[in-house]
């Protein structure tokens, strides 16, 4: 009985508050800054690295992970919300519309993730007849293509045949014959396509002669000739050609210049406009002069 009581008392004696050597050392270790940093940073990183290496070290696991990723990706991409069902083209003429459908061949329905809109836009914009294009996916799974077409403003007879150019000189399309677009002015000559804006200015200035103008000829890639019917030509200077053409028109108004039998009106020298008469006119002129002077040789 006494023995039991003693042991019982021992058990209920107040606990020793002192930490054991082991727990004391452990606590000190945990308070060491380097060790704490290691625990907080190094250990999780190391564990994650080891785990990752162990899993990814196996080729089967890698494949399974890649497969799973593609599966998830596909399941998201092929949701009906992301499917594109048809293409709508606005602002394009029927020919351009056909061209666009030809160069952007898409098998609908298609996931919008598989569409490279920027690439598509660049392809469409590369068409000669297209000034700019805008491609977007509209609500309801519609691939919307908004096209602004180039407006042909001149006909250019170049080395490859007759072509249409817009007002910046960019090719719009080919023509089989000039007669297809008689409403547009004609350009020709080497380098004519590079000076289309200037040519348009000249056409605007030559409006009073419009019925007679057959076209503009680029000479030596630097200046223009205005070709008129009846094989007449106006040679324009390199600089201020519009002014020169206006002077010709003024002369025409005053002296009815164009109705006369001229071959060439040379305006290349601003200070000295020159005309070349046709051969019959020259002989006629000489004859008249002979009469006036009383020359009796003839």
């Amino acid at each position: 009985m006494r023995q039991m009581k003693a042991s019982h008392r021992e058990n209920t004696s107040p606990r020793d508050p002192a930490p054991s050597r082991l727990s004391y050392r452990y606590q000190r270790l945990l308070l060491t800054p380097l060790f704490r940093t290691f625990l907080r940073v190094g250990l999780p990183m190391g564990a994650a690295f080891t785990l990752g290496m162990a899993v990814l070290g196996n080729a089967d696991n890698r494949d399974a992970i890649a497969l799973r990723i593609t599966e998830i990706r596909n399941s998201i991409e092929e949701r009906p919300e992301f499917m594109v069902k048809l293409m709508a083209i606005d602002g394009a003429s029927p020919e351009v519309n056909g061209d666009i459908r030809e160069i952007v061949p898409i098998d609908f329905p298609l996931s919008s993730f598989d569409l490279d809109l920027e690439e598509m836009r660049l392809t469409i914009a590369e068409l000669d007849a297209v000034a700019s294009a805008e491609v977007r996916i509209r609500a309801g799974g519609v691939l919307q293509i908004d096209v602004i077409e180039r407006i042909p403003s001149v006909v250019w007879r170049g080395p490859q045949g007759v072509e249409l150019l817009d007002n910046t000189g960019h090719r719009v399309g080919a023509l089989i014959a000039r007669a297809e677009r008689p409403d547009l002015p004609l350009l020709t000559g080497e380098g004519a396509e590079l000076a289309v804006p200037e040519a348009l200015d000249l056409f605007a200035a030559a409006e009073p002669l419009a019925s007679r103008v057959r076209g503009l000829v680029r000479m030596g890639e630097r200046r223009w000739d205005v070709a008129l019917d009846r094989n007449q030509r106006i040679l324009l200077p390199e600089e201020n050609p519009v002014e020169a053409i206006e002077r010709v028109i003024a002369l025409d108004h005053v002296q009815d210049l164009m109705a006369r039998d001229l071959v060439v009106i040379d305006m290349r020298n601003q200070n000295r406009p020159t005309v070349r008469l046709a051969e019959t006119a020259v002989t006629e002129l000489r004859r008249i002069r002979g009469q006036v002077l009383g020359d009796t040789t003839q």
């Binding site: 002192a18 004391y24 800054p33």
Partner: protein
């Protein structure tokens, strides 16, 4: 023997420097009744650079207490370790709790203890100056010229502080360097303690994976913390009434000039109560702290104290005593302690000092009415001292019982120059030292 002491003390100083560099140092007050551990962080404005004198806020702005823990002391009696395993556990408990509070690991510890039979010696040395200007080497020489008393086998020098320098007929110099004269004299106060006590302490601290960065006598450090500045300057005695030992230190001109210990303390009062009232020591301690006193009044006859007990005997367990009886038990023992202190003070010649101020501190000084009793025995100028306030010290550790802990903080922040902090005289250098060669050149050319 001397070089050995030099080396060990210098090693401790280097350790202290390393601890300051790291910024964290622990204070360990190993007392008979409690082990207190404070963790200090040195990061104040005066962290780097030793400046002249003592900095702002008495040099306390340089550190902050970030952890404090106290535990009941075990295995310590009369201020000395006598059961090492138990003491080691107590130290571990205190250090761990303080570390936990501070949330830093401490490796360096500065310790103090009260017992180990401190003995004080006054040393005097005198030399002729070689070239009229006092240099560091001259100070080293004069310190080593002190006649070393035979303090006996098995004792170790704990403090050795130069207290006073004199050049020719001018005395009372604090720092004679650079002054001109013919003869340099020094007065030094040396304190020795039992070396086994130090070895035991070293062993315990080593077992706790700590490094000792300094060692001080608790009588000295409680004087540092409880005497105000003018008391230290004009002369005063600090009496640290501890649990198992009472330390006394006499200060003058900001230096400790005498220190002694009485191997009596508060635990003796407790054991008297325990024996007198037939109660366990823990109950006696509780009764002492709650109802204790040394001056009985008429009221105390009527105030009855339940003593209690757990024997099962109703009569025995319902005993009561009057407070007057308790005081009757306590008073003779307290008187005995104070008488003993008086005898030590008389032996030291304290009555011939210009100022007779006595400051009572330590846990024992909290007995109500002690100042009245002490002024009857020790003289009129007695006051109760509480330690300085230091930054971050918890409220629970600001009482008189923590005088030596706080003093140790101040000691850690600003230790007084001791013998081993000065240069080693050239004669003591090893034979092939470069400095010795330089000295030889200087002497011969």
């Amino acid at each position: 023997m001397m070089t050995n002491l030099y080396e060990s003390q210098r090693a401790m100083r280097n350790m202290r420097k390393a601890a300051m560099q790291r910024g964290v140092v622990a204070i360990l007050d190993i007392g008979t009744s409690k082990v207190a551990c404070l963790v200090l962080r040195f990061d104040g404005p005066e962290h780097f650079g030793e400046q002249d004198g003592i900095g702002s806020m008495a040099g306390q702005s340089s550190f902050r207490v970030i952890g404090a823990a106290t535990t009941r002391s075990r295995g310590v009696s009369f201020g000395e370790i006598d059961a090492m395993q138990e003491t080691e556990r107590a130290i571990r408990t205190a250090v761990q709790a303080a570390q936990k509070m501070a949330n830093v690991r401490v490796d360096h510890v500065i310790a103090c203890f009260s017992g180990a039979q401190p003995r004080s010696y006054g040393l005097a040395g005198e030399i002729e100056l070689q070239d009229s200007v006092v240099t560091e080497q001259d100070i080293a020489r004069v310190l080593s010229a002190c006649d070393m008393p035979d303090y006996g086998q098995g004792r170790e020098v704990l403090h050795a502080q130069p207290v006073n320098f004199a050049i020719d007929h001018r005395s009372g110099l604090n720092d004679p360097r650079g002054q001109i004269g013919n003869r340099l004299a020094v007065d030094m106060h040396m304190m020795t303690v039992d070396s086994t006590a130090i070895q035991n302490l070293l062993y315990c601290i080593k077992r706790c994976d700590l490094e000792l960065a300094g060692l001080a006598s608790s009588a000295y450090v409680s004087g540092v913390s409880s005497l105000v500045e003018d008391e230290q300057e004009l002369g005063a005695a600090c009496i640290d009434l501890g649990g198992g030992a009472t330390g006394l230190s006499i200060f003058m001109k900001k230096h400790m000039i005498y220190s002694d210990g009485v191997r009596l303390g508060g635990e003796h009062v407790t054991s008297d109560i325990s024996k007198g009232l037939q109660v366990p020591l823990t109950v006696a301690e509780r009764i002492k702290t709650f109802y204790g006193g040394v001056v009985a009044t008429g009221m105390d006859d009527r105030e009855m104290i339940e003593i209690g007990g757990e024997t099962g005997d109703w009569e025995h367990d319902r005993r009561t005593v009057s407070r007057a009886e308790l005081i009757g038990i306590m008073r003779p023992r307290v008187e005995e302690i104070l008488e003993e202190v008086r005898a030590r003070l008389d032996a030291a010649g304290f009555d011939r000092l210009p100022s007779q101020q006595i400051v009572l501190t330590g846990g024992g000084s909290q007995i109500p009415g002690l100042d009245g009793l002490a002024s009857r025995i020790l003289g009129q100028q007695v006051r109760l001292g509480r330690p300085l306030r230091v930054q971050g010290l918890p409220q629970a550790a600001t009482g008189a019982a923590f005088a030596s802990s706080v003093g140790l903080c101040l000691f850690a922040a600003h230790p007084q120059d001791e013998w081993w902090d000065f240069e080693i005289p050239a004669e003591r250098y090893p034979a092939r030292s470069l400095r010795r060669a330089v000295k030889w050149f200087r002497d011969n050319w």
